[in-house]
Amino acid sequence: MLYAPPIARLVEELSKLPGIGQKTAQRLTFHLLKVPQEEARALAEAIVEAREKVAFCARCFNFAQGELCEFCANPRRDPSLVCVVERPQDIVAVERTGEFRGLYHVLGGAISPIDGIGPEDLKVRELLERVRKDGVSEVIMATNPRVEGEATAAYLAGLLKPLGVKVTRIASGIPVGGDLEYADEITLGRALKGRLEL
């Protein structure tokens, strides 16, 4: 054992986080051991509070503090428009545009056969259910513009169109192989050239 057990435990827990390797986990641990007691406690409490108070919206699977998320609970949002995204953080990106007044649906990822992720691992059944029951008139596919997101959009379009709902895909300017979060214009030309009708 290199460290005293409480230190080793903290290093181990931190190294489970995405993007944090063994070395970074050690650095964070030593940092946390040096900061004032209150600061460390505040971090621990913030983690516990976030986990306890934030759950998933029963309708759209965004993060929510109650049964419904802030969008689903807002009567001024248009429930006939549903924007489908892969992850809750993609909602933040769409909201930043200020262009969208409808509701969201968070799939929880994208179809990826090589990673063994199929429709049954995503909130696909729930989306179909919403479209059938909630009077949805248009579903906007805002999955990530990488190939998995495109295939997911195409797959969902195939399931949704027979239900008589309009299915659209966000268009030009979307970066290739990137995340919606980090949208840039460099590949705009390519995105235009390769635009796809659903």
């Binding site: 056969p113 429709p119 295939a151 590949t187």
Partner: protein, 345 residues
């Protein structure tokens, strides 16, 4: 042009420095004295990678900790660059701008002799250099292909959903068509340069034709998607995607004869060299950068007439490096660098 290069503990070199001149530099020396290693050092300094795909530690002379390379380049103001290579990676000091290298190695003959896969590899490596964005196109296509193949295999195993395979079809069509289109455009640019060279040599026209299962669908994505759909049952039977640029073939013909089947070893080597020179010309034209040709062992296996053809072509370049095991009469008048035992580590 490259004025000077310095090597320390790089491959077989203990410590050595070389000065080069404009035009053709002939590096002459017996086997095992480090001719290829010297060209590799130049390539590494200019391109930031080795043409052999070696691990950093292979570049460090056996028994030492780190290799050091230094280069001085002129053309406008003189610029210097130094690289230190050790097992963990490398450190660079200085930056070279506006100068690049294209490498020819005797193995490049496999672009003619080898299977379709090796020709696709050579074509793709070339197109990546001359068409911006092709690297991304290729990467996306291969990702689609892997995903779709996996979806097909799941259906073949009986655990998949055919709808999942179909959802990849528009992507296969879009990226596949883009790969084919960009390959065809790149090939056309190269062909122009190859024509110029073979025309001067009077060896007959060198044709490079791309045959693609997605070749006839430019601008007709819907038609292509329908063709993909018709392949479905065959694809599930074979457990793989049967249409797309991963099955393209490039056919080389020299003066109407199949380069692969009917050309001699020497002719095949000439064709591979013409290809590399065309690539260098195209890069130089598209980027307006100076391109240095590094021609490793390019004269062996050629008869005197063909050696002269190659040398006449190479001497037009601003700077070229040619290696050969022996001094040749044809090399008279060029700057000669003789490698001796003293360089050997």
């Amino acid at each position: 042009m490259i004025e000077e290069v310095y090597l320390k503990d790089f491959r077989n070199y203990e410590e050595a420095g070389f000065r080069f001149s404009k035009g053709l530099n002939a590096i002459i020396g017996d086997n095992g004295l480090g001719k290829t290693n010297l060209l590799e050092a130049l390539f590494f300094l200019l391109q930031g990678k080795t043409m052999r795909g070696s691990e950093p530690k292979e570049l460090v002379r056996w028994g030492t900790e780190k290799a050091q390379l230094g280069i001085k380049v002129s053309g406008g103001a003189a610029v210097e660059k130094r690289i230190e290579i050790c097992e963990e990676g490398r450190k660079e000091k200085g930056k070279l701008g506006g100068i690049r290298a294209v490498f020819f190695k005797p193995d490049d003959i496999w672009m003619i002799k080898g299977g379709p896969e090796s020709r696709r590899k050579y074509l793709d490596e070339a197109v990546v250099e001359i068409k911006r964005g092709f690297r991304v196109t290729l990467r996306e296509y291969h990702r689609v292909l892997r995903q779709r193949n996996e979806a097909i295999r799941a259906v073949k195993r009986g655990s998949g959903d055919i709808g999942l395979v179909r959802s990849w079809n528009p992507l296969l069509a879009r990226w596949g068509r883009m790969v084919v289109e960009e390959r065809a455009e790149g090939l056309k640019e190269l062909e122009k340069e190859m024509d110029a060279t073979t025309g001067r040599w009077g060896v007959g026209k060198l044709e490079a034709r791309l045959y693609s299962s997605m070749g006839d669908f430019f601008g007709e994505e819907d038609k292509l998607i329908r063709k993909i759909e018709r392949m479905e049952s065959a694809e599930i039977g074979r457990g793989m995607t049967l249409i797309g640029p991963h099955r393209d073939e490039v056919i080389f013909n020299l003066g109407g004869r199949s380069a692969r089947r009917d050309c001699s070893q020497g002719e095949q080597k000439l064709i591979a060299m013409v290809w590399k020179m065309a690539l260098a010309e195209t890069i130089a034209r598209n980027t307006r950068e100076k391109v240095i040709l590094l021609m490793d062992d390019c004269l062996s296996e050629l008869d005197r007439r063909n050696r002269l053809l190659v040398l006449r072509e190479l001497e037009k370049w601003e700077q070229v490096f040619v290696t050969h095991a022996e001094d040749l009469e044809e090399l008279k008048g060029f700057n000669k660098i003789f490698l001796g035992r003293e360089n050997r580590g």
